[in-house]
Structure formats: C-alpha cells, structure tokens
C-alpha cells in the first residue's frame, strides 16, 4: 500500500495545487493519461462543489485529499467539514439529451463524477463529510 495526502484551504485557486498533486501521483504511479485526466476531473468537480456551495461562513476551512494505491485500484478520499452533502443520494438532472434550450444547467459535475468512478461511498462522521471513491486501475 502506498499513500499520498494533501490539505488545501477552501479557495478556488487552490485547485491548481490539487492538480499538481494529482499530476505528481500520475507520474509516480505511472497512470495512463486517461486515468490522470479522470482523477483530475473527479477531484475538481467534488472539491470545487464543496468550496463553492459547502460553507455557510466566510472562514477558512481545510479539505483533506488522499490517494491510497492498492494492487489494482486507487482509493480517493476527500474529508471536509462543510455542510453535510451526500453525493451518492444527490439528485442528478437526466435531461442531457434534450435540446439546448430546454436543458437545465447544473448537476453535470456530479454526473461526471459518478460516470468516471467505479464505486462511491459517503459517510458523515464527527461533523465531517468523508467521501471515498474507488477507481480501478485496469
């Protein structure tokens, strides 16, 4: 088992640091470009969602992101103290195939995360959201 971890404040420009962190992991663990892009997308969608909509105050909060590499899988874990939000139960718009004028703008990020993840688990423990995503390496 191999593990990498980063902690970032709840500010949108920090997404750049998160991207570098993911690129370093991709290089270290020799991910395919597609794997790297998918992990990057999953993290950007989830973390930006939390930063933009998860807090009711203006204070600085920390988000912890970790990668655990097993033989055939990558486990991505995001821990934050934002408002409780269970992505596994969240409503996702299903009108992707409607004409542009009739589509709603929103829920798209969650749909992408679900599509690119092999398993998603959510827990609320000690006032923290803990989201664990499994991505198969094969």
């Amino acid at each position: 088992m191999d593990q990498l971890r980063i902690s970032i404040p709840n500010r949108i420009p920090e997404l750049d640091r998160l991207r570098s962190f993911t690129e370093d992991a991709a290089q270290k663990w020799e991910w395919s470009p597609k794997m790297a892009m998918n992990v990057n997308l999953i993290l950007e969608e989830l973390v930006s969602n939390t930063i933009l909509y998860g807090y009711t105050d203006e204070d600085e909060h920390k988000l912890e992101i970790s990668f655990v590499r097993e033989a055939d899988t990558l486990e991505i874990r995001i821990t934050d103290d934002a408002e409780a939000f269970d992505i596994t139960g969240a409503a996702v718009f299903t009108d992707h195939d409607k004409p542009a004028g009739e589509r709603r703008i929103g829920g798209l990020g969650i749909h992408l995360v679900r599509s690119f993840s092999d398993d998603i688990r959510y827990e609320r423990t000690q006032n923290h959201n803990v989201l664990t995503i499994r991505k198969n390496l094969t």
């Binding site: 750049d16 892009m37 195939d97 798209l108 749909h111 992408l112």
Partner: protein
Amino acid sequence: MIVNEEKKGNVYVLTPEGRLDTTNYTILEQHLAKITGANAGNILIDMSKLEYISSSGLRVLLMYLKKSKEVNGRLMLCSMIPDIREVFEISGFVNIFEIYGSREDALAS
C-alpha cells in the same frame, strides 16, 4: 489557458489551449461574450489544443450555444481529442452541439 482568436469569413475561430476548468473558464467566456454581445457572427471553437475540460467549461459552452441561437448564430466545435470527446458523450453534449472532425469541415459546413 490561452485563447487564440481569428476570423475566417464570417466565422470567429477560437482556439483555447491547455485546460478549461473552474479556475479559468472566464477567459473563454469573455471571448464568447464579446462576439455574441456584438451579434458578430458564427463561432467555431477549435479544440485541437484543449487537453482537459470539466463541467465549468461545459457549462460555458452550453450557455453560449443558447445565446448564439438567440441571435440566430451558430456555435460549432471541432477537432476534439478522444478523452474530451468521451466527456462530451457522457454529458450528452454530442447530441446538442454541431461537432466536426476538422476545422476545414466546420468552416465548409
């Protein structure tokens, strides 16, 4: 992200380079706003140099597809790399955008 802007006939060709994400989508948005705001003609986004797109980027494209239609203009896309094409397919966006294999095909359409 850098966005190159050129004019081919009555089509504005925008070529964003690098990543289109939550941190920088407003750069592309400014170009699109300027062109649609002036009711200036059709738009082609050449995606050959785009390496990554997230929902923030998709939302900007969708928003300006709607705005273009409101002023009877076209917003076309071309030359997507396969990984970005997959994001478009999963999103259902392949069904609502005019997507061409090459810049030449788009401009000839």
